[in-house]
């Protein structure tokens, strides 16, 4: 019987080492590096976030599950009574140890009860942790989706901002163009007004010159008529003579 127990203990140690090597290979914080054979995990660090953390948590749950196989099997087992001696001395030693075992049974029984309670607690905790892990993964997946959506929206927002900035610049350019056009229009109107005024004055001058020419023409006509009348009068006088 003692050989069988030793073999079990060695197998448990091997499984624990293999689990630690997997953890180290995954680049995570060392887990159960200081775990002793009695399952003390005080120095084990709890993973925080990320997919590697999710794997680590799953491994941790698997490790706890492996611990539970140990506790399930050994929670009520006490150390075997053995002797390294031989002969009579060995018989005496074994008898003494059995007596002492019987005498300290009340104390060992409490330990067995404690082991049973721990085992039950861990066994009940495991599905809760698994459920929480599952829920956590679901939430992480949702968070990832939200993150992706957020990044997409941020991209869209940046694009919109760029468009808005370009539009603002276009608006500014349009405003500037409008100002230039307004200024040109004002200059054009002013120039047009000056030209109109110039034309008005030119036409007025032409009108005055035409009036003067007409007056001079009228005067010349009257003078010519007078001269013709005088000529006619003289011709008449000559004819009479």
């Amino acid at each position: 019987m003692a050989e069988t127990e030793v073999e079990d203990i060695l197998r448990q140690i091997r499984e624990r080492v293999i689990a630690q090597q997997r953890s180290a290979a995954a680049g995570t914080a060392p887990l159960a590096a200081n775990a002793s054979a009695n399952g003390d995990r005080r120095s084990a660090e709890v993973p925080t976030a990320g997919s590697s953390n999710r794997e680590t948590t799953a491994q941790t749950l698997a490790l706890i599950s492996s611990y539970l196989t140990t506790t399930e099997r050994a929670w009520d087992r006490l150390p075997p009574v053995i002797s390294n001696r031989g002969g009579f001395v060995a018989s005496v030693e074994l008898w003494c140890k059995r007596q002492m075992k019987r005498a300290t049974r009340w104390y060992a029984w409490e330990q067995v009860n404690f082991n049973a309670a721990v085992h039950q607690a861990l066994r009940d905790l495991l599905p809760v942790l698994a459920a929480q892990q599952h829920e956590l993964e679901r939430l992480r997946a949702e968070g990832g989706a939200l993150q992706t959506e957020l990044e997409r929206q941020q991209g869209e927002l940046a694009a919109l901002r760029a468009v808005a900035q370009a539009t603002q610049q276009d608006d500014f350019s349009l405003t500037q163009n409008a100002q230039v056009i307004t200024q040109l229009l004002a200059e054009l109107r002013e120039h047009d007004e000056l030209l109109r005024e110039e034309q008005r004055v030119c036409f007025k001058q032409i009108s005055l010159e035409t009036s003067e020419a007409a007056t001079l023409e009228d005067r010349s006509r009257r003078k010519t008529e007078t001269l013709l009348a005088e000529l006619q009068r003289r011709l008449d006088e000559i004819e009479k003579k």
Partner: protein, 454 residues
């Protein structure tokens, strides 16, 4: 192979365009704007020689009319026709009052034979190459009526002092011709001899060398290299617009007196005045001198003014020969329209029975007008009619009512005076034109509403 002309050798391909850039201008030479005092201006000295030698009411053809330097001959009631190589010059002369103008070569005049009493040219024969001159003179003889007279002012050369065309290098020739386009300069006797081939009577006098305008002195020195004293040239360069005008008036006065005294000047190798005809020539100067129409207070002009007044109940002062524009006004410019710039103060004297309203158009090119408006005041016979600030460019039409009592006190004589509070120089450092006039406003279309004289 035809011989290359001097124009071609000088790199002038388009001769008409060359003369357009040299002689076509917006200059107002219309006789209606001519001030009697300008008869003393050396600029009009040769025009006055022609004016005093043509008969009133005759027909005059001007060869190479340019912008119309002979326009004042219209005051003598002549029929004035102009011919120029450049169509732009022909148009300018027409605008200045020529009865008709043509763009044509002088050796192929588009005019009937024996159609003019006078054929005149000023500063033209020096622009006709020696080989072409005979053809031009043949045309002059053709269009002249029998007994007609041809009058010329001709640029000459002095071969002892100046290289002939054949002696000039290509660069020298180009530089020389580019100044004025002189490709036909000959000595004084050569010119006279050429005319004698066509006319039996030829008389000529070396003129326009002793008396020159200030601008011409500087041009002869700077461009043609004539020797004048350096300090004299420096003095001329330093003259202001008014001083230059005074100098030119003095020169013109002396020029006129030399003519009046019939003094013969020594040969200068620069310029001659020449008369030629197949009929016996009269006096070289003042053959038909009658300057009455240059002055405002002639009976004919008075009739004209009165007629104008009667016709429209308004009197336009701009071109009225009875009206006197004082020296505060500069010579008219084509802005357009034709307007007179004034300095800080200028006056117009006119006669009318009564004046009820004065109208005029005015403008300014004064810089910074928006920042500093130009103050303008208008007076009639010393009484201020209005005062205002000119704040904008462009033409302003002004109508100023005249108090009724003012006309009564004036006794028919009025003096319209305009004053401004500042002036500016349009081109204070202009190189060639040296226009340093002090200008304020330009005025035109000055009309007064009058009541008919009874």
């Amino acid at each position: 192979m035809p011989k290359e002309s001097l124009y071609e050798r000088a790199g002038i391909a388009d001769v008409a365009e060359f003369y357009r850039t040299k002689f076509a201008s917006d200059e107002v030479l219309d006789n209606r704007y001519f001030k009697a005092l300008d008869r003393f201006d050396i600029r009009f000295a040769r025009t006055m020689w022609v004016y005093d030698n043509v008969r009133a009411g005759s027909s005059v053809l001007e060869l190479g009319c340019g912008a119309g330097m002979l326009a004042m001959l219209k005051r003598k009631g002549v029929a004035l026709i102009g011919v120029d190589l450049s169509s732009a010059c022909a148009i300018a002369a027409r605008r200045n009052g020529y009865d008709a103008t043509f763009a044509a070569e002088l050796s192929r005049l588009p005019l009937p034979a024996a159609s003019f009493d006078y054929v005149v040219s000023l500063d033209v024969m020096g622009h006709v190459e020696a080989e072409a001159k005979d053809a031009v003179l043949a045309e002059v003889k053709r269009v002249l009526r029998p007994g007609g007279v041809t009058l010329h002012g001709i640029e000459c050369t002095d071969r002892t002092a100046r290289k002939g065309y054949d002696e000039m290098s290509a660069a020298e020739l180009r530089r020389f011709v580019e100044i004025d386009g002189h490709v036909g300069l000959e000595e004084e006797q050569e010119q006279a001899a050429r005319f004698r081939k066509f006319f039996s009577q030829v008389a000529w006098q070396p003129r326009y060398a002793l008396c020159l305008s200030s601008e011409e002195f500087l041009k002869q020195a700077d461009r043609y290299g004539l020797p004048f004293e350096d300090d004299f040239l420096d003095y001329l360069r330093g003259l202001s617009f008014k001083e230059r005008r005074a100098f030119d008036m003095a020169m013109g006065y002396v020029f006129g007196k030399v003519s009046d005294l019939n003094l013969r000047l020594p040969e200068s190798g620069l310029y001659v005045l020449l008369k030629a005809s197949d009929a016996p020539l009269g006096p070289f100067y003042n053959e038909h001198r009658d300057r009455r129409n240059l002055f405002s207070a002639t009976a004919e002009a008075a009739v004209s003014a009165a007629s104008t007044t009667t016709a429209a109940n308004q009197l336009c002062l701009d071109r009225n020969l009875e009206v006197e524009f004082d020296d505060g006004w500069f010579e008219p410019n084509m802005l357009p329209p034709i307007a007179r710039w004034m300095g800080q103060q200028a006056a117009v004297k006119f006669r009318a029975a009564t004046v009820s309203e004065i109208r005029l158009d005015l403008t300014t090119h004064l810089p910074d007008l928006h920042a500093l408006p130009l103050g303008v005041e208008i007076f009639l016979n010393g009484e201020r009619l209005c005062a205002f600030s000119l704040r904008r460019y462009g033409w302003l039409e002004l109508r100023v009512p005249v108090p009724a009592d003012l006309g009564g006190r004036a006794r028919g004589a009025f003096e319209l005076e305009l004053r401004t509070d500042r002036t500016w120089q349009p081109r204070p450092v202009a190189g060639e034109t040296r226009d340093d006039r002090e200008l304020s406003i330009a005025v035109c279309n000055i009309t007064v509403r009058v009541k008919s004289e009874t």
